[in-house]
Amino acid sequence: MTSPVTDAQAAPTRAGVRVRLDGLRRRYGAVTALDGVDLTIEPGELVALLGPSGCGKTTTLRLLAGLEDADEGRITVGGRDITRLPASKRDMGMVFQAYSLFPHMTVRENVAFGLRLRRAPRAGRDRRALEMLELVGLTQQADRYAHQISGGQQQRVALARALAIQPTVLLLDEPLSALDAKVRAQLRDQIRRIQLEVGITTLFVTHDQEEALAIADRVGVMKEGRIEQLGPPTEVYSRPATPFVAEFVGLTNRLAGEVRGGQVTVRGMTLPLVDQAVPDGPAIALVRPEAVTLASGVAGAGGALAGSVIGVTFLGATSRVSVDLGDTTVLAQLPTSEVGSLPPGGHVTLAIRPDPVLVAQDSQAVPEA
């Protein structure tokens, strides 16, 4: 897509700084958007905030950017308290969800705008703008206006513009959500590559779990103004801290079971629990589709684990199979090469890999993203 970036180009921004958010609260009338958010982003780290609409992820980013004021709490960047500092003095680069290039300026002028405000000499800012455009692979478009380039290119220019001022922190507010799937994946990888090369501390906000898991060093899953879990993508996915995280990140089967002695029995199968302290009694086990395996025909175990295939969704290398167990439907994610023998209507027997699972009460539902 773009030419590799040289070291000289990759070092234009300062080394990353530590960002700390302590007890951030923000209310809009009766609605509490942020309810005491604590977050530390290490120097050069990329943290993605993930969550459904209205969970407070964008509010967190806007408070950090200075575009809104916190009701309570403290924001420090590189040890400096910037809680009451206006946005124009925070020295942060931001890429927005909506296309934000200034329509009356060329691509080059857009990228140089921040430097112009800092009274950088014309030659210097032109050179820097071209360097930044080279970084995002858009030097050919330098003299075009925003309406003359594509949406993906506009977001890349916005990224170049944000990086041109050598910001202390890079803020990305769902920058890919307006793009089509292919451009989105390309730009996502490009953002990550540039972020690693530049070494800038970055906060990335998204409602797309795949995006967050693919790009971030750590993912923070938010719900109702609080961070439910913060950790590396693999941990958030494979060891979710709460039922909400388990259900929001990735697909989850909800299977009725019985907890007894730190284990849960689901349809005759016993599975270990993530949280051993769950009290005995009926519960809903949250099982990932990839933990479910299928075998053609009804095996000896049969009974509660026997069902029929409702449908197969082709996802590329893997396929998702819906199985009707009579009283519930279970999803299984299998390599596509294995689903050829599972025609719709065919009888199958389920098995569940004995990975530790979370359990939830019926009321712990996940809102739509």
Partner: protein, 285 residues
Amino acid sequence: MASVAPLAAIAAQSGTAPDTRRGMRGAKRYRLNAFRYLIFCVFGLFFLVPLLAMARFSVEGTRPGQFSLSAWTQIPSYPGLLSAIEITLELALLTCAVILLLVVPTLIWIQLRVRWISRAVEFLCLLPLTIPAIVLVVGLAPIYNYIRHYNLSALQLFWVYGILALPYSSRALAAGLGAVDLKTLSEAARSLGASWLTVIWRIVVPNMWQALLNAMLLTTALVLGEFTVAVTLLYTNLQTALYYISRDTNNAGVLFSTSTGALVFAFMLLMILSYVGRRRRRRRG
């Protein structure tokens, strides 16, 4: 599955299909253009014929068939006329400045910070349309009587003209602001280090040039043609001066030359404003 031939291949097979379609489209465009020119000519005549009649009357000599420019050359000799023109132009400039300085930041502030009052402000801006000028004058008379003690010139009318121009200019400006994503652009500029003043001057204003010119055009047109308020508050502007000339002179030629001059002047001014706007648009592609 049956294969679907590409459109180009079908066109190549059918030979004349694209040409026919192009021909039909061309004929339609031709008819549309002809209609446009017809409308333009009809309206052009509608406005131009009275103007030409006035111009002809203003150069009519004392005898039929004779032409003279004496009515035009006498214009400067009428006491107060040139100063009325001057004051009207100054009033137009001042009113435009007041409108731009007051309304633009206010509308930006409303759109960015207090959107919930936008309806109320829109209602307030439209109020002058519903209040007859004479009623407005009755309300403003005590204030202007007070001002008069300080011997201030007719330039004081800019306050009331600002109010009268508010419904038109605010609509034009609101339309211009509505056409850009003001929130995102201003936040992007602020995150890059721009102060609010810089945001307005370097980001918002360049993106609403057309709306600003439209607002100035409407305000200028209103000020150039305003008569009721000025005459009732006993100030002299271009329109009142023309009225006094028509009342005091028995030379109708002068009346028509001044009226034609004023109209042509206003027309030229509006054309210039409109031309500036078009040139900026074209330059940006």
